[in-house]
Symmetry: C2
């Protein structure tokens, strides 16, 4: 569950601009502010089931966007390469060729 | 017009997965294969106006996605920073600090 929460937080971060205001509100309360379904239902004066259905649909949409655009996956791959690049720069025995190869790996992710 | 074609080619590249198959077909013929509206209309047995309307709507959708996700804008900014980083690595008087600063600028674009 924690892993899913982390993933949904990232996907929300990348794709929230593609959601409707209502979808954004429910997702932010549930995933960022840790409200329960019952609390969100009370806040908006709708049924717990309606909140649940909306959040499930939004989660599926976020996964569908990720399937199509891979922004989170590419972010993770770039993060790993940025770390390797910083480690290589900081080490005392790196070569220019090694650094350029890492930059080119990053460019190929575009 | 050439500038617009280049921009549409990039936006199409970034967001084509979010379009319908029909939208993708028309855009690819018009922007990538340089078909005229009349040729596309003939190919699909529909009016030239219908092709025109579909392409205009798709262009607006691509601009809307770019407005929301800025993938093309970020790509351009990263491309510029990658070039600076490669130049710095290749020069003989770079410092570790200068390279790390460029990598951090790249990371802040995420």
């Amino acid at each position: 569950m924690l892993e899913k929460t982390t993933r949904m937080n990232f996907l929300y971060d990348f794709y929230q601009s593609l959601l409707t205001p209502k979808q954004r509100n429910y997702m932010a309360l549930y995933y960022l502010d840790d409200y329960s379904l019952g609390e969100i239902a009370e806040e908006y004066g709708i049924s717990r089931q309606a909140v649940y259905d909306n959040i499930k649909r939004t989660e599926a949409m976020l996964e569908e966007y990720e399937e199509k655009l891979s922004l989170f996956k590419k972010f993770q791959m770039r993060t790993e390469l940025f770390q390797q690049l910083k480690n290589a720069i900081s080490s005392d025995n790196h070569s220019k060729e090694q650094l350029l190869e890492l930059v080119e790996q990053l460019e190929r992710l575009e």
